[in-house]
């Protein structure tokens, strides 16, 4: 669905750091939303974490660079990284070009599926309110 002019696919889960998660069985594919990538601007480097690393929901585990700013990405769920998008090392701006598809970051094998309850869905009023507030806050960056 569209919120504040941005696409948020209905089937995904979202956190408040502009991350998305696609749940397939026990595996969650994580990425940055279209809104998030617009805020970050052109991403020039992505640090690919090693497969097998354990991550904790909400805690940062990988870095991306845009505009000389090295930012950290928090994990959308806890678990173990089972796949990484190696293409991002060659083409980091895939995150900008295809945030919900080719620009995915990692796949995490969930250790606690109950954590999904802490995430939000595109159709929830809270999420809509959050994105609208964010869009207002970042109006100058997003171009009005």
């Amino acid at each position: 669905m569209q919120i504040a002019g941005f696409e948020f696919p209905d089937e995904l889960y979202y956190d408040l750091k502009h991350g998305w998660g696609r749940v397939e069985g026990n595996i969650v594919t994580q990425g940055l939303t279209d809104f998030g990538q617009k805020l970050a601007r052109e991403i020039v480097y992505v640090e690919i974490p090693p497969i097998g690393r354990s991550v904790t929901q909400g805690q940062t585990f990988m870095s991306i660079e845009s505009g000389k700013w090295v930012g950290r990405i928090p994990a959308i769920v806890s678990g173990k990284i089972v796949a990484v998008n190696e293409e991002l090392e060659w083409e980091p701006n895939l995150i900008n070009k295809s945030p919900f598809d080719r620009g995915w970051l990692v796949k995490i094998e969930m250790s606690n599926p109950a954590e999904l309850d802490k995430l939000m869905r595109a159709n929830s009023p809270e999420f809509k309110a959050f994105i609208e507030a964010e869009a207002e806050k970042f109006k100058s960056v997003l171009g009005g």
Binding site: L39, A40, R41, V44, Y45, E47, I48, I51, T60, S63, E65, S66, G67, K68, W69, V70, G71, R72, E86, E89, W90, K137, F138, S140, V141
Partner: protein
């Protein structure tokens, strides 16, 4: 927040101190300058690709990898550094990165203006005067803190900056030098002279205080901070940290089971980059995909080469490729059969 006016420090501390402060859960504005020159590379850079390491070694110029973004820079005592360590949730921290840069760059801009240089902010993160850059800046997120670093450039050694960079040839270096001269200026170039350093430090402290509020001034490094900086030095001044491969990871391998491995190998040949994704089963190629940015004529023969390699022992791959080239009349400028074999049996 505290203001640490540290003056001139040994060069490693000009980097280690700001990396240490957020790790101690402390905020602060640090003002300092290094006592000797060094090269500082961005977090994601590869020193072997970006810096002329042989030249640096020969001339005793250390190289340091920072956690902050951006490119390789030549730093020395003619630059006055500010290093702001501030909590991400500090009320003064704006929501967006651009607003962050715009807000805090007002301090150095005000310093430049106070000494008669009409500096301006240029989005996203530049300070310019007459369309030339006059400050270097960058940011790292470390834990719950944002670390914002930058400099006032009193004078600049353009020759050394260009000399320490790794470039393909002298013509290219000359081009970089001219472009740098045209696009980077200094206080000395703008004013013909450099104001006293103490005056510049005072101005930096004053202009940052106008944004951050009054700050308690310290002129030394306390033992806790020194210890953390030294602990970090044990990591960040070591070759493992400097040479940590940052871009791109070329090789990956996943063992499916004993004797079965999926691996990716990338090799840079004269004619371009070659990449192979190979499934190796008991030493034999079970599957292979070749790609890259090289030319291969006729193009459809690349798929045929892949097919010809299936079932071949990795150690015999080069022989098969040589035979394929000769039988099929393949041409690949700058890419030899040995180069292709490098991604299969390195």
């Amino acid at each position: 927040m505290k203001l640490y006016r540290l003056g001139t420090v040994a060069w490693p501390y000009s980097q280690l101190l700001y990396h240490a402060l957020p790790r101690l859960n402390r905020e602060g504005l640090i003002l300092l300058s290094p006592d000797s020159p060094y090269v500082c590379i961005g977090y994601f850079q590869d020193p072997e690709q970006d810096v002329d390491l042989a030249y640096c070694r020969e001339h005793g110029i250390p190289v340091f990898r920072r956690e902050v973004g951006g490119g390789a820079v030549y730093l020395d005592g003619n630059q006055l550094f500010w290093q702001l360590v501030i909590r991400k949730d500090h009320p003064l921290v704006p929501a967006s990165r651009e607003e962050f840069y715009r807000k805090f760059l007002q301090a150095p801009i005000a310093v430049y203006r106070a000494i008669g240089i009409p500096a301006e902010y240029k989005p996203v993160n530049d300070v310019i005067v007459h369309n030339r850059k006059i400050s270097g800046t960058g940011v790292a997120e470390i834990g719950n803190y944002i670390v914002f670093v930058g400099n006032l450039i009193l004078d600049f050694n353009y020759e050394m900056m260009v000399r320490v960079l790794k470039v393909p040839d002298e013509k290219f270096r000359d081009k970089v030098y001219k472009t740098l001269q045209e696009n980077l200026t200094t206080i000395k170039r703008e004013l013909g002279d450099i104001p006293p350093r103490e005056k510049l430090w005072d101005l930096l402290a004053e202009k940052f205080s106008e944004i951050l509020g009054p700050m308690e001034v310290e002129t030394g490094v306390d033992p806790e901070w020194r210890a953390e900086a030294n602990r970090l030095g044990e990591v960040m001044l070591k070759e493992d940290w400097l040479y940590m491969r940052r871009r791109p990871h070329t090789d990956y391998g996943v063992t499916i089971r004993s004797g079965v491995e999926v691996r990716q190998k990338v090799y840079k040949a004269t004619g371009g980059l070659i990449r192979a994704i190979i499934v190796v089963q008991e030493g034999t190629i079970a599957d292979i995909t070749l790609s890259g940015d090289f030319f291969f004529y006729p193009a459809d023969k690349l798929t045929e080469l892949e097919k010809a390699l299936i079932g071949v022992e990795v150690e015999k791959a080069e022989k098969i490729i040589v035979r394929f080239y000769s039988e099929q009349g393949v041409e690949s400028p700058g890419i030899t059969p040995a180069d292709l074999a490098m991604v299969i049996n390195p």
